[in-house]
């Protein structure tokens, strides 16, 4: 009789242990396993980011300070129109060209392009030789200027300056 009672008590104690300790511990284990899986995914993603960062850092270190500045100037992050206007003035004046009008368009570009383009329209006067020198200078200029169109007519008298319409585009990094 005593054996049966003890067995019954132990069975009840086991059932209570399963209910109060084992099941709640199993729930905690399940939650921990889920959390660890999420943390592992985060660690994996962060490792990828660190790897990418290291690659970019290597690339960054392989470019000299001077070249980094040139890359920035080639297609600056903002239009820097005032500075650009001064450079246009420099480009024209050092080649014997005068500009009578200048217009800048708003930056625009397809979403898939890593850059935006701005239209530049200039009314110029100067000789044919001066125009050619201006074009060559523009092509070598650190801030990229791509010609869209050029138009001029020969002057009425030989040696008179040409009246030139010049449209181009410049670039801006996103």
């Amino acid at each position: 009789m005593q054996k049966i009672t003890l067995s019954l008590l132990l069975f009840l104690a086991s059932a209570a242990m399963v209910y109060y300790y084992v099941l709640s511990a199993l729930d905690a284990v399940k939650i921990l396993k889920k959390e660890n899986a999420a943390l592992e995914a985060v660690v994996e993603e962060m490792r990828g980011l660190v790897e990418k960062k290291n690659e970019l850092e290597d690339l960054y270190n392989s470019i000299s300070e001077n070249d980094r500045r040139k890359i920035d100037e080639l297609a600056p992050v903002n239009p820097r129109l005032a500075e650009f206007l001064i450079k246009i003035d420099l480009l024209t004046s050092r080649n014997g060209i005068h500009f009578s009008s200048v217009n800048f368009g708003d930056p625009a570009g397809a979403p898939e392009n890593p850059y935006l383009t701005s239209a530049l329209s200039l009314g110029l006067t100067g000789t044919y030789e001066a125009l050619k020198n201006f074009l060559k200078d523009t092509e070598r200029f650190v801030r990229i200027i791509d010609v869209d169109s050029i138009g001029f007519s020969s002057p009425l008298q030989f040696g008179d300056p040409l009246s030139i319409s010049f449209t181009a585009k410049t670039y801006q990094s996103r």
Binding site: L10, M17, V22, L59, A75, E139, V147, I150
Partner: protein, 152 residues
């Protein structure tokens, strides 16, 4: 027996959960250490330079040298041909002119020079008329090949 098995089961779960806690702590400390590696200011600067390089590559690939067109004209224009007006469109790589040739023979030679050039895609001309001095006025269109204006 059931009590012993239950106790052993609970002990197993307890040990296993302890192991999971250790893994959890380890993962959290790994995340902290990786976060230190990812300095936001440095990452921002690196991303900027990377974007700028991507822009620069794309822009330089499409950068053309328009002055080559004028040099081509100078080298290939007949001495007895002169141009009245010139307009050039980069998109179509086409130059349109109003021009004057000393006579039809000069005009024919000029057209032939342009047509036979490997840098010319297409030549079109029209609007021929003779002025009082016997010169031939004409309109000319030259479509250039991309090689002429491409950066080499």
């Amino acid at each position: 027996m059931i009590f012993i098995v239950t106790g052993a089961g609970w002990l197993g779960v307890f040990i296993y959960s302890g192991r999971l806690f250790d893994i959890n702590d380890d993962l959290r400390s790994q995340i902290d250490s990786l976060e230190e590696d990812l300095d936001p200011n440095l990452v921002r600067e690196l991303v900027n330079i990377s974007n700028n390089i991507a822009s620069a590559r794309a822009i330089i690939r499409n950068h053309f040298l328009t002055s080559n067109v004028f040099e081509f004209l100078e080298k290939n224009t007949h001495p007895k041909v002169s141009y009245g007006s010139i307009s050039y469109s980069a998109q179509s790589r086409k130059m349109d002119f109003s021009a004057i040739a000393a006579n039809y023979l000069v005009l024919a030679r000029q057209i032939s020079v342009f047509e036979s050039s490997p840098m010319v895609e297409k030549v079109s001309f029209g609007g021929l008329s003779i002025d009082e001095g016997g010169n031939v006025n004409f309109r000319l269109g030259i479509e250039f090949k991309q090689e002429l204006i491409r950066i080499r």
